[in-house]
């Protein structure tokens, strides 16, 4: 079983590399947005193909492990969770690319001062991704469950940001394009948080064998 354990270790390491790449992409795309820094947006766009290549690598490794090694029980759950986490990380990478593109559009358009809580939303989404990946590394289902409670706060903040932007567009037609860009950036951050939730659910399934999807205890009534 030495070969099998080595492949599992390789799978774990690749996912860690991919996690690091994707977290950098989020940070750079958000900084680009906040600082109107085009070079950061460019670096995110250039990194996209690396993330895509990594996704295919990991998926191939997952398929090989399933096909050649016919794992059972805990190993099977680890491998299927790794496959799901891999796909979610790739989607997070895509969303960081979308944010970088919105940042580029914002830089090109005449500057319009728009105050929103996007920085706060970005911080929350980044924290959720970090917590979900830490929970995966430490195989800690409680930490993974802790990620799930943030969903409500993310949605509330998104509503506040959307309302602010809609009011702004009504008041100042010149700000419409900038507000649309910020709205989609906020939407992308919300979806990054959704993928962090998916990763956390995959970790709970991996550790406890419980499928939490569509079964969150609602925070409100």
């Amino acid at each position: 079983m030495r070969h099998f354990d080595e492949l599992l270790e390789e799978l774990r390491n690749k996912l860690l590399d991919m996690s690091a790449m994707v977290q950098t992409a989020i940070r750079e795309s958000v900084s680009s947005l906040e600082l109107s820094d085009e070079s950061r947006a460019q670096s995110v766009l250039q990194g996209e193909s690396d993330v895509n290549r990594m996704e295919l690598d990991v998926d191939q490794l997952v398929t090989s492990l399933l096909a050649l090694e016919q794992p059972v029980a805990g190993d099977l759950r680890f491998i299927t969770a790794a496959g799901k986490i891999n796909n979610n990380l790739e989607r997070i990478g895509d969303l960081a690319v979308n944010i970088a593109e919105r940042s580029e559009s914002l830089i090109q358009h005449p500057h319009v001062a728009v105050r929103t809580d996007i920085a706060k939303l970005a911080e929350m989404a980044e924290a959720m991704v970090r917590m979900a990946l830490d929970a995966f590394i430490r195989k800690d289902a409680d930490d993974a469950r802790a990620v799930l409670v943030s969903e409500r706060a993310i949605n509330d903040l998104r509503d506040v940001i959307f309302n602010d932007l809609i009011q702004q567009m009504k008041k100042d037609p010149k700000s419409v394009q900038a507000c649309v860009d910020l709205m989609f950036a906020a939407r992308n951050l919300e979806r990054i948080a959704d993928h962090a939730t998916n990763i956390a659910e995959a970790v709970v399934f991996m550790v406890d064998g419980i499928d939490l999807r569509h079964h969150h205890v609602p925070v409100d009534v």
Copy 2:
């Protein structure tokens, strides 16, 4: 192997049921949007939990087949493709729910006449989903590949719709909320098309064993 074949057949049948449910949800949500018909939006919202339950069922079946039956080669590819198609169908169901919610918001807001090509975008996205699922049923990789070429046309039409809506918002501040709703509805349709692409890629992988993700031949230069 009788038991195994029966489980495979059950997997296929559940996916077909889920496909039908999700296609109905798209059609109803788009009709609700086009006809300002709240009852259709409601029926989509009520159907969401059925789609979610079905996703869990199918995923459990996929995991059992992988764990208990240790399939190889073609069967393994069918089962992993079924898992991916399942997750994409559930996401399409979610996106139909989002469209239904945008429709409800549009109905609540004072009527603003906004002309866009959303009906056309909806038709294209629906056709892609239908073609991808037909290709899966018939295990036809060529038909699956035919789905992939629509991506460019979808993106072009989305750009036209977004531009129309942005111009409209600049011209008429009263239309902002309605235009934002339509913008997100269009974005949801675009993402439904993305999921149809994912399903088509899973079919190509299932039939030919070739992973097309991130390797589309670009239509433009």
